[in-house]
């Protein structure tokens, strides 16, 4: 199956009747079926998709405005609440949960005519970097079935590269959109914290959770971001959108300054990755940008900060899964407390339990100051260093992950080693700054590497613009 047209073209052709939304939906559903051996998808939304597509075609035939994403199929990570399928977050705990309402961003995409055709696999509750923590199955890398597609939005990233749909939604708490995009060679966009509503998405860590798209091109990502972004009364942490929007922001690299982060180009980084990033920096320079080396001395602490704050927050957010409100419940337990313990002990997978206990530990009386409060303070230090860096350069660049896609099972028995896959993505999450991943092509080991570009908070339009210009010279 060939690539999809650019999203804006698809929607324009559906509007004029040159393409039918029903055909786009059938094509997506067929591709999903043809490529099911990659285990990218948890559930398929066929009936509702076909109905919506037919309605869009009928409206277009009458000359009605059918939206900027008219008839464009997309795939949502299975932690987005969407009508027409269960929302499981790839967990046994949420099996059987049918969303009684939809997430705000899905509502916004649907209002512009987009059609959610399927739900993608993830690490259960978005805890992980490989989809190996899914309670159901492991998604395979589109280029090599013995490797992981990254995670936690691994199903979404694989689905895009397998051409199941022109775009997929992921969630990013510490790199879960960016790292899989780097592993499979896709574009990923992690917005400024609060740019997109979290309402109706299964919460992980509320101070860093963001929503965002995975696509083949920056142009497609920018259009989807433009539709998703903005204030939502249902999420009081959301921020105002840029009045200019986020689409069609392409800018020139000439005169732009980039800081290549030295802490991410040293030990512990795969030479194949380093070479591609050096090469990318040279290409940006050749296109007229200025690239300097820049140091953020507290960056080596970011992962430790992250693995205190995030388990703390998620241990609180996951408290609602108690065997009483959502479908999964253990019959065992002789009283309410017993029912909580049994339901949670059985319903949560190993990684969720590990993180809940770490979170419980760092928040518990006697340890709170030494862990949680200290981590929140080091977070301030890190944010200050980012601000100092952005006073010197327009954007920061570096790898997205220290390696290319690893083998299935390679890190499975060593949780700390698995956490290290997040070492270059967690910093932007802690600082709430936007970050984009742009493919740089294949490394010497034959696997994709994505360049991570970060901007100051609320620079999403400028970041997408420069990413589009970078994409032209990098790929």
């Amino acid at each position: 199956m060939s690539r999809w047209l650019p999203i804006a073209d698809l929607a324009a052709k559906v509007q004029t009747g040159q393409l039918k939304a029903v055909d786009l939906v059938e094509r997506a559903l067929k591709t999903i079926e043809d490529k099911k051996e990659y285990d990218a998808i948890i559930s398929i939304i066929s009936e509702r998709s076909r109905e919506r597509a037919a309605a869009i075609d009928a409206a277009a035939a009458k000359g009605e405005d059918v939206g900027r994403l008219a008839g464009v199929p997309f795939i949502a990570k299975d932690n987005y609440l969407v009508f027409g399928a269960e929302t499981t977050a790839a967990s046994n705990m949420l099996r059987g949960f049918t969303a009684p309402y939809q997430s705000t961003v899905v509502e916004k995409l649907e209002a512009e005519g987009a059609i959610c055709v399927a739900k993608a696999n993830l690490d259960a509750f978005a805890h992980g970097g490989s989809t190996e923590n899914s309670d159901f199955f492991v998604t395979k890398h589109p280029m090599d079935k013995t490797r992981v597609p990254g995670g936690s939005s691994g199903g979404s990233a694989a689905a895009v590269m397998l051409d199941m749909a022109p775009f997929a939604l992921g969630t990013d708490t510490g790199g879960s959109i960016r790292q899989p995009a780097s592993f499979v060679g896709a574009v990923a966009y992690k917005p400024t914290y609060g740019l997109m509503s979290r309402s109706g998405v299964v919460a992980m860590a509320s101070s860093t959770d963001v929503m965002g798209p995975i696509t083949r091109t920056v142009e497609d990502a920018a259009l989807v971001v433009d539709v998703m972004a903005g204030r939502d009364p249902l999420d009081s942490t959301t921020i105002e959108r840029n009045p200019k929007g986020y689409a069609n922001a392409s800018s020139s690299l000439k005169g732009k300054t980039f800081g290549l982060i030295t802490e991410w180009m040293g030990e512990g980084v795969d030479p194949a990755v380093k070479n591609k990033i050096e090469e990318a920096a040279k290409k940006l320079q050749a296109a007229g940008a200025k690239v300097t080396r820049i140091s953020l001395p507290s960056l080596p602490l970011a992962l430790a900060v992250y693995y205190i704050i995030v388990p703390a927050e998620l241990s609180s957010n996951l408290a609602r899964h108690d065997g009483q409100r959502y479908p999964f419940a253990s019959e065992e337990g002789r009283d309410l407390n017993g029912s909580y313990g049994k339901s949670r002990g059985i319903g949560f997978g190993k990684e969720a339990k590990r993180r809940i206990m770490i979170g419980t530990y760092v928040l518990s009386s006697g340890y709170y100051d030494a862990y949680y409060r200290k981590a929140q303070t080091v977070r301030t230090k890190l944010i200050n260093e980012f601000n100092e860096a952005f006073a010197k350069v327009d954007f920061l660049i570096g790898p997205t992950a220290p390696t290319t896609a690893f083998k299935i099972g390679e890190n499975a028995n060593d949780p700390l080693k698995m956490y290290l896959a997040d070492v270059m993505t967690v910093a932007a999450s802690l600082a709430g700054i936007p970050a984009v991943v742009v493919p740089t092509g294949l490394a010497s080991d034959g696997l994709p590497v994505g360049l991570q570009i970060m901007g100051v908070q609320r620079s999403d339009r400028e970041l997408l613009g420069v990413a589009q210009a970078a994409e032209e010279v990098l790929v």
């Binding site: 949960f97 049918t98 009684p100 309402y101 400024t192 914290y193 609060g194 101070s207 249902l234 009081s236 942490t237 921020i239 602490l301 430790a304 900060v305 693995y307 108690d322 009483q324 409100r325 959502y326 479908p327 999964f328 419940a329 337990g333 002789r334 009283d335 309410l336 407390n337 029912s339 313990g341 949670r344 002990g345 059985i346 949560f348 190993k350 339990k353 590990r354 809940i356 206990m357 770490i358 419980t360 530990y361 760092v362 518990s364 030494a370 862990y371 200290k374 981590a375 929140q376 303070t377 080091v378 977070r379 301030t380 230090k381 944010i383 949780p415 700390l416 956490y419 802690l430 709430g432």
Partner: protein, 97 residues
């Protein structure tokens, strides 16, 4: 260097309302200790004069009118998700034993 004991793990599991198996106790004793030893490096950071960050974009209280709004979801639909419902209430096991 934090080294969790078996009792520490049992206490954490009890606080978090997680019934874990004997195998899990042994596994988590080892794994959680390793993770805590890694994250403890934050304790050495010099943060003199800095305050903790809890909100990154600088928003403070976001107010709205205290009025009833229709979100298009009925209580019955929400209750349908619960495993045990009686007379429009979620039914749980006894609390006092």
């Amino acid at each position: 260097m934090t080294q969790l004991t078996r009792d520490d793990v049992l206490k954490l599991a009890q606080l978090a309302r997680l019934d874990i198996t004997e195998d899990e106790i042994a596994l988590y004793q080892k794994e959680l200790s390793t993770i805590l030893q890694y994250v403890e490096q934050v304790q050495k950071a010099d943060v003199a004069g800095l305050k903790p960050t809890t909100q990154v974009t600088g928003l403070t209280n976001v107010m709205r009118d205290d009025t009833v709004a229709d979100y298009g979801v009925s209580p019955d639909e929400l209750l349908r998700q619960a495993p045990n419902v009686q007379d429009r209430h979620i039914k749980v096991k006894r609390m006092i034993t």
